[in-house]
C-alpha cells in the first residue's frame, strides 16, 4: 500500500518528524512556496521505502531536512529549486543500517538576484555496510546577479560500501543555443523549455494527479 503525504510550507511546524514505518512504501511531497524557517526529521525504518519530492519556489527560507535511513531501507530524494530569493537549504542523510540505499538528486535554477546555499551531507555510519548511496547536485544560473553555493558532503565510516557524489553547473552550449534559436525560439522561450524539461524529470514516479499539482505550481512560477 502506497502512502502519499503532501505538506505545504504553511502547514509545516518549526520542528517536526515523519516516520515511515517498517516495510511500508511512501511518497512525501514538501512544497515550500512561502517563507519558512524549519527543521524536519524523516526516519525511514528498516525495510521501508520512501520517495521524497522537495519543491522550493521563490521565497526566502532556511530549511534543515534530516533523514535517517535504517537497515535495508530505501530513500529516493528529489529536489527542485526555482528561486530568485535568498534560500538556505541543508539536507542531511544518515545511513545507519546495513544494505540501505539512497539516491539524492537536486536541481536548482536561480534567477534574478537569487542567492542559494545548498548543503547535502551524506553520512554512511559504521553499521551501514553494503549500503549504496549517491548525491547529485546541479546548478543552473540564469542571471548574472545570481549566486549559488553547493556543498555535496560525504562522510563515510564503513568500508564495504558504494558511496559517491557529484555536483555540476549547467549551461547550454553555443551550438545548442544556436540550433534552438534557428528554430525560432527566443532566449526566454529556451529557458522556459529548459525549466519544463527539469520539471517533468522532477515529477517522474508520481501519480498523475500529484504530478499535475506540482507542474501547475511550477508553471505559475515560470
Amino acid at each position: 500500500m502506497k502512502n502519499i503525504i503532501i505538506e505545504h510550507a504553511k502547514d509545516l511546524k518549526t520542528n517536526s518528524q515523519l516516520i515511515i514505518k517498517s516495510k511500508t512504501e511512501a511518497f512525501y511531497i514538501l512544497i515550500v512556496d512561502e517563507e519558512l524557517i524549519a527543521e524536519k526529521e524523516i526516519i525511514v525504518e528498516a525495510g521501508a521505502s520512501l520517495k521524497t519530492y522537495y519543491l522550493f519556489l521563490n521565497n526566502n527560507s532556511d530549511l534543515n531536512l534530516k533523514h535517517v535511513v535504517n537497515r535495508e531501507a530505501k530513500l529516493n530524494s528529489n529536489s527542485l529549486v526555482l528561486s530568485d530569493s535568498l534560500l538556505k537549504i541543508k539536507t542531511e542523510y544518515d545511513f545507519v543500517g546495513a544494505d540501505s540505499f539512497g539516491q539524492v538528486s537536486a536541481d536548482a535554477v536561480l534567477n534574478g538576484a537569487a542567492n542559494l546555499k545548498y548543503e547535502a551531507i551524506l553520512r554512511v555510519k559504521p553499521d551501514a555496510q553494503q549500503s549504496d548511496t549517491r548525491v547529485d547536485l546541479r546548478l543552473y544560473l540564469n542571471s548574472s546577479a545570481a549566486h549559488g553555493q553547493l556543498t555535496p558532503q560525504l562522510e563515510v565510516a564503513a568500508n564495504d560500501v558504494k558511496a559517491g557524489h557529484s555536483s555540476s553547473t549547467f549551461k547550454l552550449s553555443a551550438d545548442d543555443l544556436f540550433y534552438l534559436q534557428t528554430r525560432g525560439l527566443s532566449l526566454n522561450q529556451i529557458k522556459t523549455l529548459q525549466l519544463k524539461s527539469l520539471s517533468n524529470k522532477f515529477v517522474q514516479g508520481l501519480d498523475n494527479s500529484t504530478a499535475k499539482l506540482l507542474l501547475d505550481l511550477i508553471t505559475t512560477q515560470i
Binding site: 554512511v124 559504521p126 555496510q129 546548478l139 544560473l141 540564469n142 542571471s143 548574472s144 545570481a146 549566486h147 549559488g148 553555493q149 553547493l150 556543498t151 555535496p152 558532503q153 560525504l154 562522510e155 563515510v156 565510516a157 564503513a158 568500508n159 564495504d160 560500501v161 558504494k162 558511496a163 559517491g164 557524489h165 557529484s166 555536483s167 555540476s168 553547473t169 549551461k171
Partner: protein
C-alpha cells in the same frame, strides 16, 4: 632518493638546543630578527603578525587541535651559525641525516639546485653554475633578504598575508629559513630544484618560508621534502609557501611530506597565477599526527590555469585533512583538481576543497575528482567540496567516490603467490598512480615506498 625507517626513529644530539627556550613572546621575535640582522620593515611585519596571532582564534572547523600546546614548542633553534659553502663543511651529524635522505647524491645526479634546512635555519644551498649565469637565484630566504631586498620585499607575505588565519599569523611572526627562488623571464629549467626540511629536535617548531617568483615565460619544477623523528612529544610545522607565476610562465611545485606521527603539519601554500600562466601542485601527505593543508591557486590573469594533484595516507591515530582551493578571478580560467586518499587502521582522510568563481570570471571551467580508499572498517573518509559560483557562464563538474580494495584484484594477486600486505600495497600504489606519474621517477619511487612503509606501519 633513499628511504630508511631509521629516519623516523633516529635523532641527533642537539647541543644547540641548550640555547633555546619554549614558548613565544615579543622578546623572542625581536631576538630572531636581530639574530638575522633583518631590515626594520621585516621586524615590523613580524611584530604586526604576532599581534594578529594573539587575536586570532584556533580554527573551529576541521580536525581537533585542542591538544596542541603552543607553549611547549621551541620556536627558534639554530643548528649552524651560517649555511655551509660546500657539502663537506656541513657538520658530520647533520650530514649523516641528509646522507640517509640521499640529498647530496640526488644533487649530483638529477637536480639543478638543492637546499637543506635543519631546525630553523638553512645549512646548505647550491645551484648549478649555468643557471646562476642566466640570472636564476636559489638561496636560503634569510640570505636572499640581505642580498636581494628589492626582490623580496614586494612579494613577501602578499599572497599569504598574516591575516589569513591563526597559523599564517604565527608563521609571519616566527618564520625562519626556507627558500627564495627567482627565475628570470624566459628561462626554462629542465631539471628540478629541491629543498629538504628536517625538524630534528624534540618539541620543535619549524616555520620555513618559501618564496618563488617565476617571471614571464619562464618554466621550472621545484620539489620540497620534509621529515622529523618521533619523540612522543608534539612538534609543529607551520611553513608558508608563496608562488608568483607571471604571464605565460609555467611552474610545478611538488612536495612529499613525511613527518613523524607526533607532528602537527599546519602548512599554508598559495600561488598567484597571471595571464596565460599555469601552476601545478603535486603533493603527497604521509606521516604527521594531524595535517591541515589546502594549496591555493588564485587565477588572477585571463586564461590562467591550475592543476592540483594530491595523495593523502591516514594510518592509525592520524587525521589527514587536505585538499585544494582555487579562486577564479580572470576570464577563461581553468582548474583541475584530482585527489586520492587512503585510510587504514582507524585513520581519517578528509578532502576539503573550495572552488570559487568570482562575478567577473566568465567562462571558467573546473573539474574536481576525489577518490577515497578505505582499507578497513575502523577508518573513515570524508569529502567536503564547496563550490561558490557567482558567474552564470561557469562550467563546473565535481565527482567523488569512496570504496574498498576490490576483493577480486586481491584474490588475483594472492593466487600469484604475493603476500596480502604486499598485494594491498601494490593495489594502493596503482590507485595513486595518476598522481605519482606526474613526479620524476626517483620521487614517484619514493612515494610508492612511503605507501609500502605506511602499509607496514613503519612511518613515524
Amino acid at each position: 632518493m633513499n628511504n630508511n625507517d631509521a629516519l623516523w626513529e633516529d635523532s641527533n644530539q642537539s647541543d644547540y638546543m641548550n640555547k633555546t627556550r619554549l614558548g613565544l613572546d615579543e622578546a623572542l621575535i625581536r631576538q630572531i630578527s636581530t639574530d638575522k640582522n633583518e631590515p626594520a620593515w621585516m621586524l615590523e611585519k613580524r611584530l604586526a603578525s604576532f599581534e594578529l596571532f594573539k587575536t586570532k582564534a584556533m580554527p573551529t572547523w576541521g580536525p581537533d587541535l585542542s591538544k596542541l600546546d603552543l607553549t611547549s614548542i621551541t620556536y627558534y633553534a639554530k643548528a649552524m651559525d651560517r649555511p655551509a659553502e660546500s657539502w663537506d663543511d656541513v657538520p658530520a651529524d647533520i650530514k649523516n641525516t641528509f646522507d640517509k635522505l640521499g640529498i647530496p647524491q640526488a644533487e649530483q645526479e638529477l637536480l639543478a639546485g638543492v637546499g637543506a634546512q635543519y631546525e630553523s635555519t638553512a645549512i646548505y644551498h647550491s645551484l648549478k653554475e649555468e643557471l646562476s649565469e642566466q640570472g636564476v637565484i636559489f638561496e636560503d630566504l634569510d640570505i636572499a633578504l640581505q642580498k636581494y631586498p628589492s626582490l623580496v620585499e614586494p612579494y613577501f607575505m602578499k599572497a599569504m598575508p598574516s591575516s589569513l588565519h591563526r597559523f599564517a599569523a604565527l608563521h609571519g611572526a616566527v618564520w625562519s629559513g626556507g627558500t627564495f627562488l627567482y627565475i628570470p623571464a624566459g628561462v626554462k629549467i629542465e631539471q628540478p630544484l629541491q629543498a629538504y626540511f628536517r625538524m630534528n629536535a624534540k618539541g620543535m617548531g619549524q616555520f620555513e618560508h618559501t618564496l618563488i617568483i617565476v617571471e614571464s615565460g619562464a618554466q621550472a619544477h621545484y620539489i620540497e621534502g620534509c621529515s622529523a623523528p618521533r619523540y612522543g612529544v608534539d612538534s609543529l610545522h607551520a611553513g608558508g609557501v608563496e608562488i608568483y607565476v607571471k604571464e605565460g610562465a609555467r611552474f610545478r611545485y611538488s612536495s612529499v611530506e613525511s613527518w613523524s606521527k607526533d607532528a602537527y603539519n599546519l602548512n599554508t601554500k598559495r600561488a598567484i597565477v597571471e595571464a596565460d600562466a599555469h601552476m601545478e601542485w603535486v603533493g603527497g601527505n604521509f606521516g604527521s599526527n594531524t595535517t591541515m593543508l589546502y594549496p591555493c591557486s588564485i587565477l588572477k590573469g585571463d586564461r590562467s590555469s591550475a592543476d592540483h594533484l594530491g595523495v593523502a595516507f591516514a594510518g592509525a591515530g592520524q587525521t589527514q585533512d587536505t585538499g585544494a582551493k582555487v579562486i577564479h578571478l580572470g576570464k577563461d580560467t581553468t582548474s583541475n583538481i584530482v585527489t586520492k586518499s587512503i585510510s587504514r587502521e582507524g585513520g581519517k582522510a578528509i578532502y576539503r576543497g573550495l572552488v570559487e568563481i568570482s562575478p567577473l570570471a566568465t567562462n571558467a571551467v573546473v573539474s574536481v575528482k576525489c577518490d577515497s580508499l578505505i582499507l578497513d572498517d575502523k577508518s573513515q573518509a570524508d569529502t567536503i567540496p564547496v563550490m561558490k559560483i557567482n558567474n552564470e557562464t561557469a562550467t563546473i563538474s565535481h565527482e567523488a567516490s569512496t570504496g574498498k580494495i576490490n576483493a577480486e584484484d586481491l584474490f588475483y594477486l594472492r593466487s600469484r603467490g604475493i603476500k596480502e600486505s604486499e598485494a594491498s600495497a601494490m593495489i594502493v600504489n596503482g590507485f595513486i598512480e595518476p598522481i605519482t606519474k606526474e613526479l620524476p621517477l626517483e620521487y614517484s619511487v619514493e612515494m610508492n615506498r612511503l605507501v609500502e612503509l605506511e602499509m607496514e606501519d613503519s612511518i613515524g
